[in-house]
């Protein structure tokens, strides 16, 4: 018998193992939901992620490239990593006079790993959605915006469409039907990388980005 069979057999033969009813998770969230509108949800999201040390800016679909350039100049960023073949990368590429070098994720290039780890100042990705309760961004990296874009560069810019904010994680999973569509890697990101491992003192930029910059894209014309 293999280890697998022995373990399973021991478990299956355990005494008094009667199946319990399936917990009603949805009922809990329904009972504890807030009756809030989209504006209130946005406020909750923003407060929570700002409390986790993220920078939050308001913009819209037309305005974000200029805003991004301004922030990049302030932060003295010399290079920005963008997705391959995404609409956002295209928008940036069409700007005249970017204050930084635009790099796309080129894992086939010789020395790419080294360049990614040492020579790229910032990355830009799009969030799939967000969660108000905990101030979390939902990212589903794919072949166009790979996983390391949101992890290795010291500054991470995220574009978020403000219409995609869910009340809580359970709401996001249910509304977006995660259980039948999960990608290779799904992520929640709720601030810059941090640690309190030295005498409970909080320090940012442990292994991932030191700064997380959220660009809230309001529907065009709706921004007040």
């Amino acid at each position: 018998m293999s280890a697998r069979e022995r373990i399973l057999q021991r478990l299956a033969s355990a005494e008094s193992r009667s199946p319990l009813p399936l917990p009603d998770v949805a009922a809990y969230y329904a009972a504890h939901q807030r009756n809030e509108d989209a504006a209130a949800r946005l406020v909750r999201f923003r407060t929570a992620i700002a409390a986790a040390h993220a920078e939050v800016h308001d913009t819209d679909d037309a305005g974000w490239p200029a805003l991004l350039c301004r922030i990049a100049i302030e932060k003295r960023l010399r290079s920005l990593l963008v997705g391959g073949d995404t609409a956002d990368a295209g928008t940036l590429a069409n700007q005249s006079q970017l204050p930084f070098a635009l790099r796309s994720y080129d894992s086939a290039a010789p020395g790419w790993r080294n360049e990614l780890f040492t020579a790229i100042d910032a990355g830009l990705t799009r969030a799939k959605s967000a969660i108000a309760e905990t101030g979390s961004l939902v990212l589903w990296p794919d072949s166009r915006e790979p996983r390391l874009m949101s992890l290795v560069p010291p500054v991470h810019f995220v574009l978020l469409d403000t219409r995609c904010i869910h009340a809580d994680l359970h709401g996001a999973m249910t509304a977006e039907d995660w259980s039948s569509t999960l990608p290779t890697n799904a992520l929640l990101i709720s601030g810059p990388s941090k640690t309190a491992d030295i005498q409970q003192t909080l320090a940012y930029g442990a292994h991932g980005p030191r700064e997380l910059v959220v660009l809230l894209c309001h529907p065009t014309g709706a921004q007040s």
Partner: protein, 479 residues
């Protein structure tokens, strides 16, 4: 070098505890850290009703998952395999280590970079890898610090909680090439970041733990703040995850309540910086992520706890560490005194299954049974009840029929005689009356040296008058 393993934590436990309580710097450090964590947790749970409902839900999910454990493990395996993830089963530490070493040899790996994994500590994986000539490097900042110091973690969430920043500053200056002494925490973290960034890029294998494994989707959930877990599971060509068999839940929707309970109970955070859900190795066309992903499911005594209806509750644990953060004993003796991978109340209830009751009987006695642990446990494990049960098992007679490994091994004839006499007295009223009469009248004969009790306390002496005598006097006055 990793620490030598303590296979018999009970041995020397009292001496280690005594040494720890006599160390003012250690006491101060732990007290400060515990106060900090308690305050932060409390700030997360301002709504008592919400907390209570959420704990009910968390406990129900964990109990439900355990009630279907063998079925869920098979469902998990089927879905992981369908997603392209290799699944391995290990009955004990040696088997788990052999699986990792096999994979490492096949991939000709020289460096394994590790995210925080208490299960890998439990099986002493670093030790085994070293023996096989493979370097294992911890990348969680706290784990990196204790590894540099040649120690083990003293807390399951904050491994270096016993170290001051001055000690860490000295350690870095002595052990990291080219580093000058600094007590600035940001600079210290930057030093660690720079050393480890290089290593992430070099490592052949990334190894991590698992917080929850979702059966219906074949997904491994990891939560963390630093980003080293994401590095370990994304940069190297191979990712190996190792976990206890109890970590499985059936549905993806079971994760949000447990995730919320875990982060809030552990460090008082509403959420960790990252929740990392891994469902497959790199797919064709994807440009990063490991080519191979493995999951090792470890038993190592967990099936023993599972087999017992009462002790099964031990496996509900989501390893938040709240029980140790609130334990008056842990706060005073710290994590290392326990001599086990898992210290504190959770360590006292889980270690007997991993190492046997004989080797760990002292741990269950290191409790005042104050109940603080059960009061904060997010999944409502009745820890004090389990401690009492384990104390009894440690003293059980050979013919008790106990199926627990090491039960009765540390049985003391004196202790069992005393308790037998006690039980006899308390179940026979006449005997009780006679015995207490003699004790109150003969109180002058009570010995003044009463073993451990009088080591730091005044002797216990029976009252001059029994309750029965006092009541009789009172009643006669009222007549």
């Amino acid at each position: 070098m990793t620490q030598p393993l303590h296979f018999h934590p009970s041995e020397g436990f009292a001496a280690r505890a005594r040494a720890a309580t006599a160390d003012p710097a250690l006491r101060k450090g732990f007290r400060g850290a515990m106060d900090f964590l308690q305050t932060k947790r409390q700030a997360q749970f301002t709504d008592a009703a919400e907390l209570s409902d959420l704990r009910d839900l968390g406990a129900a999910i964990r109990r439900y998952s355990l009630s279907r454990l063998p079925e869920l493990l098979q469902q998990l395996e089927t879905n992981l395999v369908a997603n392209g993830i290799h699944v391995h089963w290990a009955e004990n530490a040696d088997e788990a280590n052999a699986i990792v070493i096999d994979i490492a040899r096949r991939r000709e790996a020289k460096l394994v970079i590790k995210g925080k994994s208490m299960v890998s500590e439990e099986v002493a994986l670093n030790h085994a890898l070293e023996g096989a000539g493979i370097e294992a490097l911890e990348s969680d900042m706290g784990e990196y610090i204790v590894q540099l110091a040649g120690e083990g973690p003293s807390h399951i969430i904050m491994p270096a909680i016993h170290k001051t920043k001055q000690q860490i500053a000295e350690l870095f200056a002595a052990k990291v090439p080219g580093v000058t002494y600094t007590e600035n925490v940001d600079e210290l973290i930057l030093i660690g970041r720079n050393v480890l960034r290089q290593k992430f890029a070099e490592a052949d294998i990334g190894l991590s733990g698992v917080n929850f494994a979702v059966a219906e989707t074949g997904t491994l959930c990891l939560l963390e703040n630093e980003g080293n877990g994401r590095m370990c599971t994304t940069v190297p060509k191979v990712h190996i995850a190792i976990t206890g068999i109890e970590k499985v839940v059936e549905k993806l929707e079971h994760v949000p309540p447990l995730f919320s309970l875990l982060t809030r109970s552990a460090t008082g955070q509403a959420v960790t910086t990252y929740l990392n859900l891994i469902s497959s190795p790199r797919k064709p066309g994807e440009r990063d992520g490991p080519e191979e992903v493995h999951l090792i499911l470890l038993d190592n005594g967990r099936t023993q706890a599972y087999n017992d209806e009462q002790l099964r509750a031990t496996l509900q644990c989501i390893r938040c560490g709240a029980c140790m953060n609130h334990c008056p004993v842990y706060a005073r003796i710290g994590g290392h005194a326990y001599g086990t991978t898992y210290p504190g109340p959770i360590g006292a209830i889980v270690s007997p299954h991993l190492l046997g009751i004989g080797a760990t009987h002292a741990l269950a006695t290191a409790s005042t049974l104050c109940g603080a642990c059960a009061e904060v446990c997010p999944v409502r494990i009745p820890i004090p009840e389990l401690l009492i049960r384990l104390r009894n098992e440690a003293q059980s007679a050979a013919d008790s029929g106990s199926e627990l490994r090491g039960a009765g091994e540390s049985r003391s004839v004196l202790v069992s005689m005393i308790f037998r006499a006690w039980a006899l007295m308390y179940t026979h009223p006449m005997l009780y009356r006679i015995a207490t009469w003699f004790m109150s009248r003969g109180r002058a004969l009570t010995p003044t040296a009463q073993g451990a009790w009088t080591g730091i306390r005044t002797p216990l002496v029976p009252a001059p008058k029994r309750l029965r005598d006092l009541l009789a006097e009172r009643n006669s006055r009222h007549e």
